[in-house]
């Protein structure tokens, strides 16, 4: 009986604490259905209106839909590039006869890259991109995001690549499997959970990334975070539209949390617990 009461109290406490997370979302979501005047007046009750969404999605001056498309393209392409480089790179670094100092040096550099503020790298990228005409292009931002996510992806794939049993690799070699077949048929299925976890996170981080996107893109190549920041930058802050755009851009995270919570949790906790 007492354990039952204890459990009930615990659930109640968790429910109350979750309000801290949920209520700000609900309040902002509600604000996105207000009119600007209603919001500024600070009234509690309001008649829901879709004005803000209409303005964000369909107005001629809004670029939100194009920005969402840019985010999607950059997110998918940079994720693919990060995963390719990380998987092959991890396999090479961890399972091939490199000199020790070389492996350590590269891993150390990946650590430094992870620690450097993206704004500093963005400065270097901006100069380089202008020199070769990659500023204000999707490709420039794709490369930037792939580089920013590579250290994390490399470490994560490293964990999985090291776990591929050596006996399995040798057995496949004895059966005459070519290297391509070995990688495709043996290794890839074994590291697939790692690819899923790293992939989800790479995409989310690219979708969220702001510092590089802000400085490497212009109006027609900007991504969603840049677009949201614009609402706050104008002389008169467009609050309800900011709320609507913020609500819309939280959708991918909500969706991924529903369908891929397992991989997100695995990716975020990898290495910390091992």
């Amino acid at each position: 009986m007492s354990t039952l009461r204890w459990e009930a109290g615990l659930q109640l406490a968790l429910m109350l604490l979750s309000l801290f997370v949920v209520l700000p979302f609900l309040w902002v979501f509600a604000a996105s259905f207000r009119s600007q005047i209603n919001l500024l007046m600070g009234e509690f009750w309001f008649e829901p209106t879709l004005t803000a969404y209409r303005e964000v999605l369909f107005s001629r001056t809004s670029t939100f839909v194009a920005n969402a498309w840019n985010s999607l393209v950059v997110g998918l392409a940079s994720t693919a590039l990060s995963l390719l480089a990380a998987t092959l790179g991890a396999w090479s670094l961890y399972r091939m006869p490199w000199p020790r100092w070389w492996v350590h040096l590269l891993l150390l550099w990946s650590l430094v890259l992870q620690m450097i503020p993206p704004v500093t790298l963005a400065g270097g990228w901006y100069v380089m991109a202008r020199a070769v005409g990659l500023d204000n292009t999707h490709l420039g931002l794709i490369l930037a995001h792939a580089t920013l996510n590579l250290p994390m992806a490399l470490w994560m794939m490293g964990v999985y690549v090291r776990d591929v049993p050596q006996e399995l690799v040798e057995a496949a070699r004895l059966d005459g499997a070519s290297n391509g077949v070995l990688l495709w048929r043996i290794v890839l299925p074994l590291v697939a959970p790692g690819l899923a976890a790293a992939g989800v996170l790479c995409f989310v981080f690219s979708w969220n990334e702001f510092a590089a996107a802000l400085n490497l893109t212009m109006r027609d190549t900007a991504t969603v975070p840049v677009s949201i920041a614009k609402f706050a930058q104008e002389f008169e802050i467009r609050y309800v539209e900011m709320a609507a755009a913020a609500s819309l851009s939280a959708l991918p995270a909500l969706l991924l949390l529903l369908v891929a919570q397992r991989w997100i949790v695995k990716g975020l906790t990898l290495g910390a617990v091992k």
């Binding site: 459990e7 550099w109 939280a250």
Partner: protein, 310 residues
């Protein structure tokens, strides 16, 4: 198939690091090359670029950059720049305040959640949501919430008859407010790592503690905390590194203001490099920050060596 064609051959080499016979160095390099190209071409090259730019005055004109050599003038100016010093101080205050809050709250929440026998997956999903959102969206949400005229917090205070607080417009409060928002954003990350750590702890130790009649507090103090120490350390380092890079929330919430009250290092670099057309000075600032990071890494490595000599 493109995966399988060239680079896959590298698989043949056994895991032992140093083997005298090295039949296909080509595959080894081929498999490493995409990562190497990114890490050097887009990681090292921009840093070298910044090092070089730091010795020049840069002006953009007609899509062309004009460079004028100034030697170490930027670095001399940097040493005397009070704004750079205050930016570093702001960043340190921000990072320590935010990370301390996140770790404490995250640990308490994880302890609570780990005791629940039902619905742990559900609660975990609810609590980690803020981590997955763009920093800009978090900033936009709290810019609305913290507005003194119509924000939810002002309305809440009003319910209790309290006056509204200008969270982001008051220079003495703004950095604290940004820390609060960051705590809201990243506590879930600490919670997630701590929960995973708690769930991975061996059960039998707790049973032994129970047999020995340990109180809840003693169990926490002498069993849970020592066992969780590695997870706590990893989480701390991870969060600290991220906190030092903070940019998005500051950009949206305060734009570094009021005045320079919330100007963190990333934001100062952004201002100099991108908005004030002082790319050379911004580059020198970037180099100084990267150098500080190297120092921190070296210090961390040195302490680690001293702590675990055996």
């Amino acid at each position: 198939m493109s995966l399988a064609t060239g680079t896959g051959a590298a698989l043949a080499v056994p895991a032992q690091r140093v083997r005298p016979a090295d039949p296909d160095a080509l595959w080894r390099w081929a498999a490493l090359s995409p990562a190497l190209l990114l890490m050097l071409g887009l990681g090292l090259l921009p840093v070298l670029n910044l090092v070089a730019l730091g010795f020049f005055d840069v002006h953009w004109a007609e899509g062309q950059s004009e460079l004028r050599f100034v030697g170490t003038a930027h670095y001399a100016a940097l040493a005397k720049d009070p704004l750079f010093g205050s930016a570093i101080l702001n960043t340190v205050v921000f990072a320590i305040g935010a990370v301390a809050g996140q770790m404490g709250l995250g640990f308490a929440l994880a302890l609570l959640c780990s005791k629940a026998t039902r619905g742990r997956t559900f609660w975990r999903a609810v609590f980690i949501l803020p981590v997955l959102l763009p920093g800009i969206v978090i900033g936009a949400m709290w810019k609305l919430m913290m507005n003194p005229d119509f924000g939810a917090i002002a309305q809440l205070l009003d319910l209790f008859g309290l006056p509204p607080v200008d969270w982001l417009g008051n220079a003495r409060l703004a950095l604290f407010s940004v820390v609060l928002v960051d705590i809201w954003h990243w506590t879930p990350f600490c919670f997630l790592l701590f929960l995973a750590g708690l769930e991975a702890l061996p059960r039998d130790v707790y049973e032994a503690a129970k047999v020995d009649g340990a109180s809840t507090w003693q169990e926490l103090r002498y069993v849970t905390l020592p066992l969780m120490w590695p997870t706590i350390a990893v989480t701390f380092v991870f969060r600290l590194v991220l906190a030092f890079k903070v940019f998005d929330e500051v950009y949206l919430l305060t734009g570094g203001g009021p005045g320079t009250a919330t100007e963190v290092v990333s934001f100062t670099i952004y201002l100099r490099f991108f908005t004030q057309d002082r790319a050379g000075y911004g580059a020198a600032m970037s180099v100084a920050v990267i150098f500080l990071i190297f120092l921190m890494l070296a210090a961390a490595a040195a302490t680690r060596r001293r702590v675990q000599p055996a």
